[in-house]
């Protein structure tokens, strides 16, 4: 098979079918861009997990009237608990010092605290598995001297839920758009096979192999898939450069949700190309089997 001949056939096919080829490219682009968005959200969520779950502690606040015996008993209980990785006691004074440094910018708030007694003493507990918070909460909630078990993660949970939601929506829309891309590819190849039925008939007549007859169709699909993937990559770059880095700049500046990094955006692209090309090639191959009838 001569490459130049195959390329000519593909060029003819794409030129003849340019509107349908454009439709394939656009649907592939949209579905892959969404797939890329979902992949990036996963990366961000994972990064957030690593950052927060590594640092977050469960705070076991003690009652103001806790006795020394109760405090020691609780310390022993926590230390011997297999779920607990590390226990650290925080006194009234340490709590106040931490409070002062955390809210150093807000003088009124700091001044409103009368003395060390205003802030409760606590055990700062780091769990081996941060998700076991509820077990810890119910186990220590009723122990003598304990006022409240507080999970700092609880604050972040809605945020994780939001990111999970974004990821789910992006994935679902990516699948729907992917189905549309598949159907469009299917239809395009079918039309291409129809518009080329004369050539196909003649190719069969002169003894062209099935491979030779199908190759231009499969390659057309591959090219459309690749162009769509490149366009989707471009879309992600535009999204990162002008939406994430400019419009949503303040949101990320707060530092609660990390922004997508450039290396993450780039690392997604080969996968988009792989998925785009693979799916388009498969779809065109199957369609050409059905409609080229070699």
């Amino acid at each position: 098979m001569r490459p130049r001949f195959v390329l000519q056939e593909i060029a003819t096919g794409l030129r003849r079918n340019v509107t349908m080829a454009a439709a394939v490219v656009v649907t592939v682009m949209v579905s892959l861009a969404l797939l890329g968005g979902s992949m990036l959200t996963t990366k961000i969520t994972n990064r957030m997990h690593d950052r927060y779950y590594g640092q977050l502690e469960v705070a076991v606040y003690l009652k103001a009237d806790v006795t020394a015996a109760e405090r020691d008993a609780l310390r022993t209980m926590l230390t011997s608990d297999p779920r607990v990785a590390r226990v650290q006691y925080e006194s009234h004074e340490q709590a106040l010092a931490k409070f002062k440094s955390e809210f150093a910018g807000q003088k009124d708030l700091v001044n409103s605290v009368s003395g060390p007694e205003a802030l409760p003493e606590s055990f700062r507990v780091k769990l081996k598995n941060p998700k076991e918070y509820t077990v810890i909460a119910s186990k220590y909630g009723g122990v003598a001297g304990v006022d409240e078990v507080y999970d700092a993660q609880a604050v972040l949970r809605p945020l994780f839920n939001l990111l999970d939601g974004v990821k789910t929506v992006a994935t679902v829309v990516a699948i729907v758009a992917g189905a549309a891309a598949l159907l469009t590819t299917f239809n395009t190849i079918r039309l291409a096979a129809f518009s080329r039925r004369r050539e196909i008939g003649i190719m069969r007549l002169v003894g062209a192999s099935n491979f030779t007859i199908q190759l231009p169709f499969v390659l057309e699909g591959v090219i459309a898939g690749l162009v769509g993937a490149v366009a989707a990559g471009g879309l992600l770059v535009v999204f990162k450069r002008w939406i994430l880095d400019v419009t949503l700049q303040d949101f990320f500046h707060a530092g609660v949700v990390p922004n997508a990094e450039w290396h993450e955006v780039l690392s997604v692209m080969p996968w988009l190309a792989l998925v785009g090309v693979g799916v388009a090639a498969l779809a065109s191959y199957v369609t050409s089997l059905l409609y080229v009838r070699v």
């Binding site: 098979m1 001569r2 130049r4 001949f5 003819t12 004369r198 050539e199 008939g201 003649i202 190719m203 069969r204 007549l205 002169v206 003894g207 062209a208 192999s209 099935n210 030779t212 007859i213």
Partner: protein, 229 residues
């Protein structure tokens, strides 16, 4: 070259068989006219040789191959040994004369230098030298058929099948085409030609096989179109 053994072909929609118990043996190098009224089974006969149809019963041998048992993936290689010419030429309208002929070589994976050497040679043989860059629309019917013959012959097939190649041509042009097919036959290529053209058959005096309602009714060595009473 071609042997049919008790071949019957039924199309599912029809009660009457298109071919009924046909046995015939065509030697390598033969020039055979296949005659008969429309619907007599000529086209089915030719389609069986190309494995475009499968015989309902009986066996078809072409160039030593049992066509009915030929694996589907071997069909392309098999068809390269057979050239085909049709009444409607079947040229690609957007390709030039040279490209149309080269097409048959290119789809079989022939290298460029071979295409470059063989195509002008064959076009010269069929008398189209100097018209390589024309499009089929710019040629007369006879010239278009010459392009089709060049394409059929460019792979040097052992067998050339022609389905009413002069059906759309005037008598004068038809004679030219027949001379060309005769020349190709003289190179050793077996030619099987279905035709309604009595004048041609009567002039050439070659082997005539006649079909009537799917039955082989005549096989004559130096035959004429109608019965020579």
């Amino acid at each position: 070259m071609i042997r049919l053994e008790d071949v019957t072909k039924h199309y599912s929609a029809q009660t009457r068989p298109a071919l009924a118990d046909v046995s015939v043996n065509l030697e390598a190098g033969d020039f055979v006219f296949l005659v008969g009224a429309s619907g007599s089974g000529k086209s089915t006969f030719l389609r069986l040789l190309l494995k475009e149809e499968r015989a309902t019963s009986g066996r078809v041998f072409v160039a030593g191959k049992d066509v009915g048992r030929l694996a589907q993936w071997k069909v392309p290689a098999f068809r390269r040994k057979i050239g085909c010419v049709f009444q409607d030429f079947r040229l690609l309208p957007n390709k030039t004369v040279a490209q149309n002929v080269a097409f048959a070589l290119e789809v079989t994976g022939a290298p460029r230098h071979k295409v470059g050497a063989v195509v002008p040679e064959v076009l010269d043989l069929v008398g189209l030298k100097g018209k390589e860059q024309r499009l089929p629309d710019e040629l007369s019917g006879g010239e278009q058929q010459r392009v089709a013959i060049a394409r059929a012959f460019v792979n040097r097939p052992q067998l050339l099948i022609a389905d009413e190649p002069t059906g759309n041509l005037d008598p004068q042009t038809s004679i030219g085409i027949m001379k060309l097919l005769d020349r190709i036959n003289r190179t050793g290529t077996t030619v099987v030609m279905a035709t309604h053209d009595a004048a041609i058959v009567d002039t050439m005096r070659r082997r005539v096989v006649e079909l009537d309602n799917g039955h082989l009714v005549r096989d004559q060595a130096r035959g004429v179109y109608g019965y020579a009473q």
